[in-house]
């Protein structure tokens, strides 16, 4: 925090002048990029054709969706159960596969640098591809249904879980591992008794956190035919049954709120 000499005496400024200039320049570049990006999106003639009808469309849609068809919930229980199963089994699958990948990706436990590079690539690849795209591909292979959805959720979650796990492994206390090593334990035993107990709380926390995300994610997989409540959603929209659509949205809202409540409770119990 420099003091600048001015004719009126020394004054305090938060930053030096060059630093201030750099910050202003970064703002300028940032704003220019955003404006340019916006212009590219607004450069669409059709958009301005649709714009005047937005209000009418919105009121039209709402009037078709109200009141929700409450009795439709009887049909929805099974899809909700399926959705939860997709999320749960997908998370379990991802956590099981994430452990070896995380150990391979953490600097302090990786067997070789090449292995680490491969593990990091798996993590990024799994994270970059949305579960909906995984599902789109898996429906081609396994046929439409829950299996494709579960695998899609699992494949998508491997990256997220491994990333959080390997960061936790890198932050462990090494003294405990050295103590285990001093007893003559093998590398595998060191991992099991020196590292695992330290990362177990993170492990459980990550699983619950991911499960919560996956419940949200699995509600839409049905849009590409991969099971769950999304199937009903796309079916109802295709048949323009808007009162059913609003009922499904309420059911999704309920499922997500309950899953969030459960995961918050479990996380408090663990930590």
């Amino acid at each position: 925090m420099p003091i600048i000499q001015t004719p009126g005496g020394p004054t305090w400024q938060r930053r030096t002048t060059p630093k201030q200039l750099i910050i202003w320049f970064s703002w300028l570049v940032g704003i220019a990029v955003v404006v340019f990006a916006w212009l590219r999106i607004a450069d669409n003639d059709l958009l301005w054709v649709y714009m005047p009808t937005v209000g009418r469309e919105a009121t039209d849609m709402v009037s078709r969706m109200v009141p929700p068809k409450w009795s439709y919930i009887d049909v929805l229980w099974k899809p909700i159960w399926d959705t939860l199963n997709i999320a749960t089994i997908g998370t379990v699958m991802a956590m099981i596969l994430a452990v070896p990948i995380a150990f391979a990706a953490a600097v302090n436990t990786t067997p070789h640098r090449a292995v680490r590079a491969v593990a990091l690539f798996i993590i990024v690849a799994s994270r970059s591809v949305n579960s909906l795209i995984w599902a789109l591909a898996l429906v081609f292979i396994l046929g439409p249904g829950i299996l494709a959805g579960t695998l899609a959720i699992g494949l998508r979650s491997i990256g997220g879980c491994s990333k959080l796990l390997y960061e936790a492994i890198e932050e462990i206390d090494h003294k405990q591992v050295e103590a285990i090593e001093a007893t003559g334990a093998s590398r595998l035993q060191q991992m099991a008794y020196g590292i695992m107990p330290q990362v177990m709380p993170t492990f459980a926390g990550v699983a619950v956190f991911r499960w919560d995300i996956n419940v949200r994610g699995s509600t839409i997989l049905g849009l590409v035919g991969a099971g769950g409540i999304g199937l009903q959603l796309s079916g109802s929209m295709a048949t323009l049954a808007w009162t059913q659509v609003s009922m499904i949205l309420i059911a999704i809202l309920g499922t997500v709120v309950i899953s969030e409540y459960v995961s918050a409770k479990v996380r408090h119990a663990i930590i």
């Binding site: 340019f36 469309e57 919105a58 099974k78 292979i141 999704i252």
Partner: protein, 281 residues
């Protein structure tokens, strides 16, 4: 000292000579109940899953063929037309969408995040802002995009709206949580100088939450780019539209190119976000 004078026989019973890892759940009854519940759940889940194993099994060779058809990734479609222009255009559109959605979402998130902090806002405002956050967090971007497409027509503007709303749920929630755990002493120090509410927020709260928020905004940019690849599937523009077309035309080697480009861009964003965070702090 000879070895014989040293008693190496085990003092029987007084010390345990084996060690077992303590179980994860200490209470024995609770532990078995949890195991039982887990087994019952999985039995029920798999029992009702209604998986067509024959179909899945039949699909496996086709799956191998399917995966093989991804390689090598190309930019030439099945009619021999070079589609690299379309791919680049789609990716650029996704990038523009992600940038504008992140900025618009953050601008909208700041007042909502301030309103959703327990230590800043009166209860009615708090509940209202929490309600906005909860409802925007509930629905995945794809569902938001379906409705945005209905309102604004096909194209990137609908995707932009969906991603911006999704950003509010993420950013405002984390901002509010970060504000709630700010240190009390700087807040009181600024308050005691007689600062107004806006000055107080700007000089006491803002410096405490800004570094984390900058990191989070880059992270959200990364999420928005990835999500922009799926809002296209329901008509929200961007690379998702190109990807879906390539799937529908069975041009899987083009899908592979698109997926690889998404992965590479996400990787680049991840590295640059690390650098940016270091530079800011």
């Amino acid at each position: 000292m000879s070895g014989s004078s040293f008693d190496t026989s085990k003092p029987s019973g007084s010390f345990p000579d084996t060690w077992k890892k303590p179980p994860f759940i200490k209470n024995k009854t609770l532990r078995w109940l949890v195991y039982l519940a887990v087994i019952l759940y999985f039995a029920a889940a798999f029992g009702t899953m209604d998986i067509n194993w024959t179909r899945a099994y039949e699909g496996l060779p086709r799956g191998a063929e399917f995966i093989a058809s991804f390689f090598p990734p190309t930019m030439i479609d099945s009619n021999g037309v070079d589609v690299s222009g379309t791919i680049v255009e789609g990716i650029l559109e996704s990038i523009w969408m992600a940038i504008v959605a992140t900025v618009a979402g953050i601008i909208l998130s700041v007042p909502i995040g301030l309103g959703a902090s327990r230590n800043l806002a009166p209860t009615p405002v708090y509940l209202f802002c929490r309600g906005i956050i909860a409802s925007s967090r509930t629905f995945p971007e794809v569902i938001l995009a379906i409705f945005a497409v209905k309102l604004f027509g096909f194209g990137s503007f609908a995707g932009l709206v969906a991603l911006s709303i999704g950003t509010i749920g993420f950013f405002a929630k984390l901002l509010a949580e970060d504000i709630e755990i700010t240190a009390k002493s700087p807040n009181e120090a600024i308050e005691s100088t007689g600062a107004g509410w806006f000055q107080w927020v700007n000089y006491a709260i803002q410096p405490q939450v800004l570094p984390r928020m900058i990191g989070l905004s880059v992270y959200r940019l990364d999420i928005n780019f990835r999500e922009s690849a799926v809002v296209g599937i329901v008509g929200g523009g961007g690379i998702g539209a190109t990807l879906k077309t390539s799937f529908e035309r069975y041009d899987f080697s083009i899908s592979a190119t698109i997926l690889l480009s998404i992965i590479i861009i996400v990787m680049m964003l991840e590295y640059s976000s690390g650098y940016l965070r270091k530079w800011v702090q």
